[in-house]
């Protein structure tokens, strides 16, 4: 595990500073209270030092990646909403959410070092997840842009699915680690494919179906896709049985077909993906504006502040990657994707080095979730796959998403602490380098 990342940390903060400097000094003289910037940089650096102190063996390289991604997100949100006519300033709010996320991470790093206890409450977590998603159907829930994803919590609204997914990963990891052997055992084979015993599948299938069903009725396609693929990947990782993957693919085909037939909004999404030109000012408008802006960026981009990404509806949340691709170009957008891939790589490495199976599965599940989420939304805004509303981790505007991803990172850090400690002990015993 990488235990020192001071230079990457400083580099990430410098990149963010450069982004802000470009916008403030080169674009227009109006500037937000600079104290927010100082808070942001100070908090993340203190967080980094704190994590190194409390978890000396953990993989702190995750933190500069988080800093870079939140920083780029903050710069873009500032550029898209600060002092822009017809846009509400969201940059300072996002900065506050990053502070809240950092605080949450610090809290978890201090109090959840013995994360194994989480697995003892795996069924509780499953229940919490289903309740969280179900909350949107209570009078507390409300609809935004046709999807019922929000819950009113007095002063702030939050998206429960952002937290429910973490609870679900904890449940799947705990359960699959327990039942891994029986799930992997095969009782019979059909057409050369070995069919595993399905009876131990019950709890997983139940939670899976419950979370998925609720999300489908919420019309949250992005999360549905995520909640569908995640357990399949985790089961595959736990058992290595390709049969589960095939079963999943089959279910996916059936599920897609059924939802396409049942829900008009799904049909609309698929049609505007296949042929957005049919209704360029209506259903196809958002994705076409996204494509136009991405193309406008070219290889090196229009330069920060010189693009027209404001023409994309929801640009600061789901479509923030289009704005990045437009203003930073193919080179900048690829660099951002590489930062995401670096995060995924560290997560996978933590999973590989983790001590026990539950830890491995937890790290893997969290990482896979992060990866799928990134692939689904970037694929959506680049018209590689149908668009599903989901946030780009750390970059998109949104409190629930930012805090949720800080929690995800905190869990990876505590797992890596144990893995790192074990690695160090092995080296000590074996006398290796």
């Amino acid at each position: 595990m990488t235990q020192r990342a001071t230079s990457p940390m400083i580099l990430a903060l410098l990149i963010t500073t450069l982004g802000f400097a470009t916008l403030i000094f080169a674009q227009e003289p109006k500037s937000p209270p600079l104290i927010y910037g100082a808070y942001y940089a100070g908090t993340l650096f203190v967080l980094y030092l704190g994590v190194r102190l409390i978890l000396p063996h953990s993989d702190v390289l995750l933190l500069p990646i988080v800093t870079l991604l939140t920083g780029i997100g903050l710069v873009m949100i500032y550029r898209l909403t600060y002092d822009v006519q017809g846009a509400e300033n969201l940059a300072t709010t996002q900065a506050v959410w990053i502070l809240v996320g950092s605080g949450t991470m610090f809290f978890m790093v201090v109090f959840f070092r013995n994360y194994h206890r989480l697995f003892d409450y795996k069924y509780l977590f499953a229940l919490i997840a289903v309740i969280l998603i179900g909350l949107t159907f209570t009078p507390l829930g409300y609809e935004v842009n046709g999807a019922r994803l929000w819950v009113d919590l007095g002063p702030v609204g939050f998206q429960p699915s952002e937290f429910a997914r973490i609870a679900l990963v904890i449940f799947y990891a705990g359960y699959l680690a327990d039942k891994r052997d029986v799930l992997a055992a095969t009782s019979r084979s059909f057409l050369g494919i070995q069919i595993p015993a399905l009876k131990y599948f019950g709890p997983v299938a139940l939670v899976w179906a419950a979370s998925l069903g609720l999300l489908v009725f919420e019309k949250d396609l992005g999360s549905s896709l995520l909640f569908f693929a995640l357990p399949l990947l985790m089961i595959y990782a736990a058992t290595g049985r390709i049969a589960y993957v095939l079963l999943g693919a089959l279910l996916f085909s059936i599920g897609s077909f059924v939802t396409y037939q049942l829900f008009e909004h799904v049909q609309l999404r698929v049609q505007s993906w296949l042929d957005p030109w049919q209704d360029p000012d209506g259903a196809g408008f958002q994705i076409l504006q996204s494509i136009f802006n991405i193309a406008d960026g070219g290889l090196t981009g229009t330069g920060l502040g010189a693009g027209f990404a404001q023409t994309i509806p929801e640009v600061e949340t789901d479509f923030i990657f289009s704005a990045i691709a437009s203003e930073l170009g193919l080179l900048g957008a690829t660099a951002v994707l590489l930062a995401f891939l670096a995060f995924v790589y560290r997560g996978i490495k933590i999973s590989l080095l983790a001590e026990d199976e539950a830890s491995k599965l937890l790290a893997y599940g969290l990482t896979a979730m992060f990866a799928i989420q990134t692939l689904v939304i970037v694929g959506g805004v680049t018209k590689a796959i149908p668009l599903t509303g989901i946030t780009l981790p750390f970059v998109s505007y949104g409190g629930s998403s930012v805090v949720g991803n800080f929690i995800l990172t905190a869990l990876l850090l505590v797992i890596s602490e144990q893995a790192g400690r074990r690695e160090e002990e092995e080296i000590l015993y074996e006398g290796g380098p």
Binding site: T22, A26, Q27, Q85, Y236, I291, G301, A325, L337, L341
Partner: protein, 477 residues
């Protein structure tokens, strides 16, 4: 279990690679076609949100085009304003997000729109940081007073259709270029459909884009070739009014017979039969064509910022019959040209046979006034040797003094010129006049052309004369 984890990691990596591929497809491969898609409003939005540079006349002060700021609910946008209106419209052109751009507006677009390669450190920093890139200012060579005089003169001519080009023979600067009828480039978005339908085509710059038979003005090119072929100005020819060739007979203008005349007199009286004979018997197709090419025929002046239709001789000289050569000798048949080219022909003779590169942009300035580019005068082609050019100059002076073209005379100044009355059936002939002055040290060369204006000395000559007089008197005073 680690093997399974690793395997799915490769799947994720493949996903990221695919996304980069998708981005590359949009941002590199499909970029151009998406930018030009009619549903894509980004380019228009970019264009109207950035002020374009100024277009200034040769005095560096008269504003021909500027961007005026207008506040809209969606932020500030810029409208293009043309304070000088019609007189400069065909050179300056128009700039519209609906109907595209013409003239200097498009010819110097990369400078005006600020998309040119950065030329100053400020510009470079601005580009790297994506800062605003205001357009550079373009200063033209046009003399604003002369341009107005020329526009009024041509607009009030017999048909009101034609062109005038004035050029400084010493450095190739275009002093005036007008085309009539013209148009008001202000509010082009509203007026364009009507202008485009107008049968008199006001949107066409007749000085450079149209081609007409140049008629007898072309005789100065034939005369140049004749001088080089050894014909002397005092050599005698006998004219019986016609020159017969197999399958084609040349007739003089209005069927006149001149008898025994010198070569100079043949030019003064514009005797077709003698020029046809000289072209066929003394010069030959290849040399005549080569002389025209040396004067700029068959060349669209690609470095010139406005679109120039190349003057042409039609089929290549190797395919000419003697009849073709005869007709070409007095600028009929397949020969066609325009006021721009013929003004340059006059300027070349005026400049002792040295053809200067024509220029209409004097300099490019940054918004702060720093000169970014200032093309220096350059010789385009050594068309004629100085001796032959001086001889032709004297012959062209006699066109004015001995040709009874008293109307062309300017008191105290020697003027040289040549008329053209180019047949253009079924309409009246096109009226041409090319001229330069003062003949001993020319500072201006002019070509005036009136579409279907009749005889050269009646329609075109007074127009060119007005322009030249205004210029020479302006300089003297």
């Amino acid at each position: 279990m680690n093997a399974h984890v690793r395997r799915t990691f490769y799947l994720f990596v493949a996903g990221f690679v695919a996304l980069v591929g998708m981005l590359a497809y949009w941002q590199v491969y499909a970029r151009e076609s998406l930018a030009n898609n009619p549903e894509n409003g980004l380019q228009t939005q970019r264009a109207i949100q950035t002020p374009r540079g100024l277009i200034l006349a040769g005095d560096g002060e008269t504003v021909l085009a500027r961007s005026a700021k207008r506040q809209t609910p969606g932020g500030a946008v810029y409208d293009r304003v043309y304070p000088q209106g019609e007189a400069f419209a065909n050179v300056v052109g128009y700039w519209s997000t609906k109907y595209g751009a013409t003239g200097i507006e498009i010819g110097e677009n990369s400078n005006l729109s600020g998309t040119a390669e950065p030329a100053t450190l400020d510009g470079l920093i601005n580009q790297m940081t994506g800062g605003p890139k205001p357009g550079n200012n373009v200063v033209l060579t046009l003399d604003p007073e002369l341009q107005r005089v020329a526009q009024e003169a041509i607009a009030s001519s017999a048909t009101g259709r034609g062109a005038v080009v004035a050029v400084d023979p010493r450095n190739g600067e275009i002093l005036a270029m007008v085309s009539s009828p013209s148009f008001d480039p202000n509010n082009i978005d509203q007026t364009f459909p009507e202008l485009a339908r107008d049968p008199d085509s006001p949107l066409i710059n007749r000085a450079i884009q149209s081609l007409y038979p140049p008629g007898s003005t072309f005789k100065v090119i034939t005369a140049s070739a004749a001088l080089e072929a050894g014909v002397s100005p005092s050599e005698h020819f006998v004219d019986d009014g016609t020159y017969e060739l197999p399958g084609y007979t040349v007739h003089n203008f209005q069927g006149r017979e001149y008898g025994r005349v010198t070569f100079t007199q043949a030019l003064v009286f514009s005797i077709n039969a003698i020029f046809a004979r000289i072209a066929v018997e003394r010069i030959g197709a290849e040399d005549l064509a080569q002389m025209a090419f040396d004067f700029g025929f068959d060349d669209s002046y690609d470095d010139f910022p406005l679109p120039v239709s190349a003057s042409t001789l039609g089929a290549p000289p190797s395919e000419w019959t003697p009849g073709t050569t005869a007709q070409s000798a007095f600028g009929q048949g397949q020969v066609s040209s325009n006021a721009f080219e013929m003004a340059l022909v006059a300027a070349t003779i005026a400049n002792d046979g040295e053809m200067m590169e024509p220029r209409i942009v004097r300099e490019i300035r940054s918004p702060d006034g720093i000169i970014l580019d200032k093309p220096t005068p350059s010789v385009r082609h050594d068309t004629l040797d100085a001796g032959a050019a001086r001889t032709l100059n004297e012959m062209m002076q006699k066109v004015v003094t001995e040709g009874e073209l008293t109307v062309a005379e300017i008191p105290g100044i020697e003027v040289a010129g040549k008329t053209g009355t180019a047949e253009a059936p079924p309409g009246a002939p096109h009226s041409w006049w090319i001229t330069f002055a003062p003949a001993d040290d020319p500072t201006i060369a002019v070509c005036a052309m009136v579409e279907n204006g009749g005889r050269g000395d009646q329609a075109a000559l007074p127009i060119a004369d007005t322009v030249m007089e205004a210029y020479l008197k302006g300089r003297a005073g």
